[in-house]
Symmetry: C2
Subunit: 454 residues, 2 copies
Amino acid sequence: MTYDLIVIGAGPGGFDAAVEAAGLGLSVALIEKDFLGGTCLNRGCIPTKLWLGATSAVEELHNQARMKVASGEVTVNFAALQSRVQKHLAGTRKAMGMQLKKLGVELVEGTGRLAGDHQVAVASADGEKTLAYKKLVVATGSRPIFFPGLEPDGDCVLDSDMFLSLESMPESLIVVGAGFIGLEMAQVAHRFGCKVTVVDAMDRVAPLEDPEVSQALAGVFKRWKWDIRLNERVAGVVTRDGRALLTLNSGEHIVADKALVAVGRGPVTKGIGLEEAGVELLFNQIQVDEHLLAAPDIYAIGDANGHIQLAHAASHQAHYVALHAAGKIEAPYVVGPVPSVLYGSPEAMRVGLMENEAFLADFETTEVSVAQLAANPMAQAHAATQGFVKIIWSGGKVVGVTAVGHDVSRLVTPAAMIVHQGWTLDDIHSVIFPHPSLDEALLMALKAERKQVQ
Amino acid sequence: MTYDLIVIGAGPGGFDAAVEAAGLGLSVALIEKDFLGGTCLNRGCIPTKLWLGATSAVEELHNQARMKVASGEVTVNFAALQSRVQKHLAGTRKAMGMQLKKLGVELVEGTGRLAGDHQVAVASADGEKTLAYKKLVVATGSRPIFFPGLEPDGDCVLDSDMFLSLESMPESLIVVGAGFIGLEMAQVAHRFGCKVTVVDAMDRVAPLEDPEVSQALAGVFKRWKWDIRLNERVAGVVTRDGRALLTLNSGEHIVADKALVAVGRGPVTKGIGLEEAGVELLFNQIQVDEHLLAAPDIYAIGDANGHIQLAHAASHQAHYVALHAAGKIEAPYVVGPVPSVLYGSPEAMRVGLMENEAFLADFETTEVSVAQLAANPMAQAHAATQGFVKIIWSGGKVVGVTAVGHDVSRLVTPAAMIVHQGWTLDDIHSVIFPHPSLDEALLMALKAERKQVQ
């Protein structure tokens, strides 16, 4: 048979594309070489959130203890946590498998490779078989990347996959790369009492965020006695005598039980016949047109096309390609504002444009308005008052929201709606925010005095 | 001088009315007999949230301990917490006072009373003075009410004001009234190890909420070994031998260290010259027209008009009357969906219509769609998976959202926006929800199969 749609990769993008297409009545095959759920479920966002959730009492207690309101000790059993994580992942994968079955999606285990006109070859332990498609979705995702000298050895030098598979939490950890992945994992390690060193070649933590967000994060991490090494290039990191030995370009050595290398992720796009099928790659990213098509009848979504490395962005693209493949939509793909969140405590969130992006786009009308979390009773209640919410305005409309602080992830969905709808001052009173709530910090920022960006 | 606007009562409604009117250029006097911030700040929402925040580690630890992932002990020092609460309240009042000063609002301490044509008499320890106004806002708020036999004595029988002023948390507590106020305070007491008994004359806890919300809440409270007595009328509660002695209509006695009577709040509207000024009261509630006017040039907002006993509803009305008094708006007041939240863990939230309300309004097209929190990774991360999100649809539009479970308060602002905008199925994909997030439970509920309400 010829499938209406074949999807390669069952991460958030691929899985959702398969499910949505099947829901629209298409015959669908979904090819996965590893586990349902891809990186996000099995080696990324989900296990990290389970770690953060399980250790959140540590941080809540710590904050209240600083205020001398609470005392005590919370001990998280790492082995028990890891076993709970695995159980949750297995349960989720099982539920996903049942959903595919219910919708009549054919799950094909193996490695997919484009093999001639409208054909995909799937290689598995059982041999190779060929499937035919009318439309194809490439959702092959991404994997950790490394600079020379930073390759993980699986012993004391780990990538994020290996770190998430640890059987015990080290007592000291070097994190190379101060992006969201490294910082979330470092926060968990910190909660287990691990001594944390963070090294980044850039001049600030979370270097892709608003500089004031970086500053606020660093302020908290320094209070936690993290050793933060910025503007430092790493010459190499190796296992030596059972410990991780990191050498900076300056020649200085840093030693810890483990090193986590989290300098970024790159698309998985090589060796699967993409170029032979006429798909163009640039820095390994699949180039797509305004319909997310990489070649006739071949879509590429998610991390593989390199647009935005976020699960929900992949899912949003999946929704579009399912509709497009089913002939239900012809208009080009419109992404809209994509929210991003650093979880933990503090958290950071962002949606739409950052201050500098808006300024570059229109320096004449870009303004910002800010509310400090210290003025919010819920931030006070959690004794976590460092942080702020910043609204970025352009031409009198909200074009971006950035925030940092305890629990600010709860602002991201309303902020996404506000940015998507391009609120003006007149819209602020259209919706009633609950009192008291951290959400009111968003409202206060919207109402705060606007200052032109210079 | 004659003030453009005089406001009686500096709670959330009155304070905001004064601030907004002054911001619009009106000359404003604000009369308050007690503290800036009214019940919400000084004896209500804010201290309760500070209690809940300070004790949240207890509940987080408890949930993880049930999963055998964490162990330990968190002790909250009640005296230290109370002192922190008082410090926060004083700081907030001070900031509010400075804001009034900055805006040129005249703060007049004393009890305001309508005293003839466009005049208010203010009585204080210093005597009485009379102020003249062009427009008046009555924002006198509410106070706890009691049925006969349930009057607090300030010893072992307490109202919520007295409970919030305790110097130590009792070891056992009877809560009379299973509404939001009683349940939030009972949750705090529980976290301090207090044995909780809840008594209500209705057949369920949180009797104003969706019955399934009541059921979910009761399920958690019973797991906590609360003694929940429903369908029970209280004959009386008194202090006897240094303890609270409650007698049910059945004759049964219940004894505890303290009893908290939280059966409701009623408007503060008597004895301040309202009826003499031509204002109509019904069940003590000030009757207002579509412009929130109770009589020519006399507005009534907040708990005093009895519409909705919520601080943010009062603030929303305040915004309107400030604009109306300043001549900036002539259209009638439109309230829009008002969110309500029970804080704690579990939480409950609601905005717009409940299932039964929508069904009564239009039984032919009312549908509901539901997502269980157990399917959400953030609920799993916090080991708090009981609960659900329910969407109420009418005529194909979202008219209400109801949820119960850990952290569901974070859904209330996006839900308020969705209800306000009357989303249809087509709108669901217009905004990208972050993954993973509890917010996705809202998205899942929006996408879930809709079932007609019967």
